[in-house]
Symmetry: D2
Subunit: 302 residues, 4 copies
C-alpha cells in the first residue's frame, strides 16, 4: 500500500506507467481495441462521428437534428439530458425536462437508427441513462469521480471518458483503468473510448475561451493504450469558426473518432451557442472530412 501513490506526481514516462494500468495498456505497438457500439465500429479504419446539441431541448429539435446529421453521415447522436451545470440556478423547466430528454433521444433513435451517447453524472441515475442510451459519457468534471467510474463500469455498457480539463494523460488513463477493471470483472471486453476536449491554457486566443485542444495527447495516448482516442473540437475551441480546422487537424493527428456540437439553430442554442455548428455547416464539414480521412487510410463511411 505504501508505494502505489508515491509516484502520484510523476510524469508518464518517468516510471513504467504500464504497470499502473495493466488493463488499458497496450501489449504490442499495433494493439488497438476494436469493438462495435450500436453497429458502429471503434478502433478500426472508421472514424466514428458523434454529433448533436449540447442539450436536448425538446423532441422536435432533437429529431430534426438526428435526421439531418444521419443524412450527412454521422454515426452517433449526442445530446445532453443530465448535464453538469456550472451555475446552480436554472429554471424549473430545466429540471423537469431532464428525464424527458432521454425519451426524446429515444424517439430520435427510432426515427434514424442512430445510436445514442449521453452523459451520466449521478450514480442514482445510471440505470435510467443506461436504459436510454448505447454509450455512457463521463464528462470532464467527473473524470476523477471514482465512485461514478466504478458504478458506470459495473453496467458493462460502452463508455466514452472525457479527459479532465486540467488532467494529465496519466490521470486520464488511470481513470479509464477504473472502468476497465469493472469490465474485466464482468468477463467482458473493455469498451472504452477516450475523448480529448481541450485543456485549460493561457493560449486560447479569445477572451471568452478557456481551453486549447491538445492534439499531442492523441499520439501520446495511442503510444501507451489500446483504447481508441477521439477528440471534441467544439468544446475545446469554444468558437465555431475554429471547429472545422481543428476537426481536420484531429484527423491528421490520428484521432479515432470525433464529437461535434450541432444545433438546428445555433444562435438560439440553450447552451454554448458560440461553439455549435448548424446542420448545413455540419453537412459541409462531413464532406470536408471524407477526403482527409481517405488520405490517411481511414474512412467516415461504415
Amino acid at each position: 500500500m505504501a508505494l502505489d501513490n508515491k509516484m502520484a506526481g510523476k510524469d508518464l514516462n518517468d516510471d513504467d506507467i504500464r504497470d499502473k494500468i495493466p488493463l488499458v495498456a497496450k501489449d504490442h505497438p499495433e494493439h488497438k481495441s476494436r469493438f462495435s457500439v450500436g453497429g458502429v465500429e471503434f478502433g478500426g479504419p472508421l472514424i466514428p462521428v458523434m454529433a448533436g446539441p449540447n442539450t436536448v431541448e425538446n423532441e422536435e429539435m432533437i429529431v430534426k437534428t438526428a435526421k439531418s446529421i444521419k443524412a450527412s453521415g454521422a454515426h452517433f447522436l449526442r445530446g445532453g439530458a443530465f448535464k453538469p451545470l456550472t451555475f446552480p440556478y436554472r429554471s424549473e423547466k430545466y429540471y423537469e425536462t431532464r428525464e424527458q430528454g432521454l425519451e426524446w433521444l429515444q424517439v430520435a433513435k427510432k426515427e434514424t437508427g442512430l445510436p445514442i451517447v449521453t452523459e451520466v453524472m449521478d450514480v442514482a441515475k445510471i440505470d435510467v441513462v443506461a436504459k436510454n442510451s448505447d454509450m455512457l459519457q463521463i464528462g470532464t468534471r467527473n473524470m476523477q469521480n471514482y465512485v461514478l467510474l466504478t458504478e458506470v463500469g459495473k453496467t458493462g455498457m460502452p463508455v466514452m471518458l472525457k479527459r479532465g480539463y486540467g488532467s494529465s494523460l496519466r490521470d486520464w488513463l488511470m481513470a479509464a483503468e477504473y472502468i476497465a477493471l469493472e469490465h474485466d470483472r464482468l468477463g467482458q471486453q473493455q469498451q472504452i473510448v477516450l475523448c480529448e476536449r481541450g485543456v485549460v491554457s493561457n493560449h486560447t486566443h479569445r477572451a471568452g475561451s478557456r481551453f486549447l485542444l491538445d492534439l499531442q495527447v492523441v499520439p501520446a495516448a495511442q503510444d501507451v493504450t489500446h483504447l481508441p482516442v477521439m477528440t471534441d473540437p467544439s468544446h475545446a475551441t469554444f468558437w465555431q469558426p475554429w471547429v472545422r480546422p481543428m476537426m481536420l487537424a484531429s484527423i491528421g493527428a490520428g484521432a479515432d473518432g470525433l464529437m461535434l456540437e450541432v444545433h438546428p439553430n445555433p444562435p438560439e442554442a440553450a447552451v454554448d451557442p458560440l461553439q455549435c455548428s448548424s446542420l448545413e455547416q455540419f453537412d459541409e464539414m462531413m464532406k470536408a472530412m471524407r477526403p482527409v480521412a481517405a488520405a490517411i487510410g481511414r474512412t467516415l463511411d461504415a
Copy 2:
C-alpha cells in the same frame, strides 16, 4: 435558461460574476463570513491550522499525531479515511480500514479535543463521514461533482471546498454556491471555507511535481466572496522543504487558514511521503508562523 451558460467561458471580471453567485458574493468590501466549527473560529483574526496525515493509517499513528499537533498549537486534525485513489489497485487492507479510519479519528478527537476535518467523496458515505467529523472536505477531484456538492450541502455541516487543480476562480465560486444554496434552504448561515491547493502548471521546478500554489487567488477570491480562503501548501508544492516558505507566503498573502500534511514518520508515510512534515518540523513551523501572523494583525492562538 438560454442565457445562463452563454457566459460559461468568460473570465471572472468580464461579466458581473456577483450575479451568478448571489449567496457567496460579498455585499461590501469588509464583508467576511465568521463562524465557529468545533470551537474554532473562521473568518476572524485567527488563522486556523489543520494538520495531520494524508491517510489515517492506524489508531496509534493518528492519536500520536493528534497529541503532538495539539501541543504545537494546531486547531484541527485532518486525516483521510475515504480518499480518492488515482490508482485503482490497492491492497484489501486499504478497503477494510476505511470506516475504521473514521473511528480512529474519533479516538484522536476524544484524546485531544481537536475537531476533525475529513474528505467525503461518495454520496452513499456522507452520513457516516458526517457523524464522525466536524467539517466535511470536498477534494480537488470532486470540486465539480455537483451531485456530491448538493448532498453535502443538505447535511448543513461546515464544508471545506478544495479548488479543482485546473479550475478557474469562477468555477470554484460557483461550486461553493451549490453548497451555499443548500445551507440557505436550511435557513442557516453558510459555513464554507475555500482551500487553494495548487493548480497544474508547467512551472513546478521539480520533475515529480505537477502543481503551483496560486497565491494570487487569495486576494482575488477575497475581493469577490465573503467566504474565508485558506491554502494547502503541502499538496501544492509536493515537496516538504518548500512547504515552510509557501506556508509563510500564504500568511503574507492573507490566507484565512492553512492545511498542512504532518506524519509521525514521513519516510514511511503510506501516501505522499515527499510532501509531509514530521511532528518536529510542524512544531517549528507553528513557531515560525506566529510572529508572521502577528506582523499582519492576525493570530494563531484562539
Copy 3:
C-alpha cells in the same frame, strides 16, 4: 503616449487589435499575403516545406541532407549556423565553425538549388547571415528582441518569425508589426512568415518535453493577419514519433508551411537527436503529406 501600453495585458479580442497592427492586419477575410522567396511561393496553395538539421555540423552532412530532401520534395533547406545556446559552455570547435556553417549552406544551395533559411540572433551578424541566406529566421528566444526585429526588417529580406514559447498571439503579431514597419519604410511588400513552434505547457506527456504545439493559433492568427502561418512540429513535440501526426494535423489546421528537423543520422545529431527525422523518414513523411494537402485543396508541389 499614455494610452498605447495601457492595453498591454488585454487579450486579443478585448480591444481592436487591428488598430495596433495596421500593417499586418487583414483588410478583408480573404486577404492573404502572397510572395516568392527563392522561387518558392508563400501564401498560395503551395505548402512550403523547410527541412534540414538543427545545426550545420559540416559540409558533407549538409550537402547530403540537402540532396536527399530536395529529392523528396522539400522547398527550403534549413540549418543553424548561428544559434542560441541555452547552455553557455561549448567546445571551441562550435564557435569556430559558425561562419563556416553559412558557407556550407551556400555549397548545399549550389548543389541543389534549394533556398536557405537560417537564424540570425545578433545585430552584428545580420550582414553576413543575410548575404548567405534567402530568408532570415528570428528564433523563439528573440521574438521580442525589438532591436533585432527592427534591424532585420531594415534589410528588406524575407523573414520567418517564430512565436515566443510563452508569448500570446497579440505579442507575436506586434513583433511582426515591427518588421513590417521597416518593410513598409523601404516601400516594399511585407515578406514575413509566422511560425508556431510549441508553447510551454504542463501537458507535454513526456518528462523530457516542455512544449505543446498550439494548433488553435493557426486559424486564430489567420483570422487577424494576412501573413502566412506555418508550424514547426519537431521543436514542439521534441519527440520524433509524434512529429508525423502533428505534421499532418498542421496541414488539417490550415498551416501555410512546415518546418521539419531532418538529419542524416539522428542518433548522432549534435543537437536535439530525439526530435529529428532521418532522411528516409522525411521521404515517407513527404509522401504522407501530399494526399492530405490535396484533400484540403493545397499542394506540396510547386
Copy 4:
C-alpha cells in the same frame, strides 16, 4: 558538443543541473552571494526594495518619486529610460526623451543618494546606460538574448536578471550563467540578482492580466543557486490591490529583494497605470513590510 544540448528539454532535477551552471550553483546549503551595490547589500538580512515608475516621464516626476520613496525607506530607484515596447508605434516624444531619461535618473540620484537600476535592451546602448546607473536590468523579453547577456556581463556591472515570462528555472539559471561567465573572466565576484516577475498562466483571475507570481520559484531557485532571488509583484499581478498581499507573500517565501512600481499619480501613469502604487500607498506598504521582515529574521533597514 554533441551532448550538451541533448538535455535541453529536461526538467531541473532530471539531470545534475549544477554541472550546467558551475558558476551560479551553490557549493553548500548556506552558500549565498553577498555584495553591495551603491551601498545596498544583497544576499544578507536586508531585503532591498527597488521602487519607482515604469517609465521616467520627466525630471520633475522622477525627482518627486525618488524623494518620496527615499523618505519611505526604499533602497533603489527604478525607472525605465530605454524600454521594450510591445507596440511599435510611439510618439516622437517617446524616442526623444530616452537618453534624457537617464539624465533625469541621475538628477534624482543626486538629490536623494538612491542608486539607480534601469533596463538595457540594446547592445549599442550598454555604455550610456552603464554610465548612468548602478545596476543594469535585463528585462523578461531579453532573458535569452544571449548576445545582450554576454555584452552586459563584460561591463562587470551588477545585473538584475528578470525571469522570462514563459521560462523555466533551468533556462533562467543558464541565462545567469552567461553573465556569471563574463564576471568570472573579469576576475570579479558575480553580482547578479534574479527577479521573478510573473509567468504566463491561465490562472490570473482578471481578464486584463496575463501573469501569475510564481512564488515556489523562490525556494526552488534558492535550493540551487547562491544568487539572491527577488520578486516584482507589480508586473506579476498587473493590479495594484493585489500588489500588497503578494509583496508580503514574497517576504514570507523568502525573497531577497522586492521591486515595486510606484508613481506620483497612478491614473496618469504613461504605462501600466493599473498596477502602480501611489507614493502614499508605497509608504504604507513599507510600513506593512517591516514587521513581516522582522518576523522572519530579515530587515528593511540598512
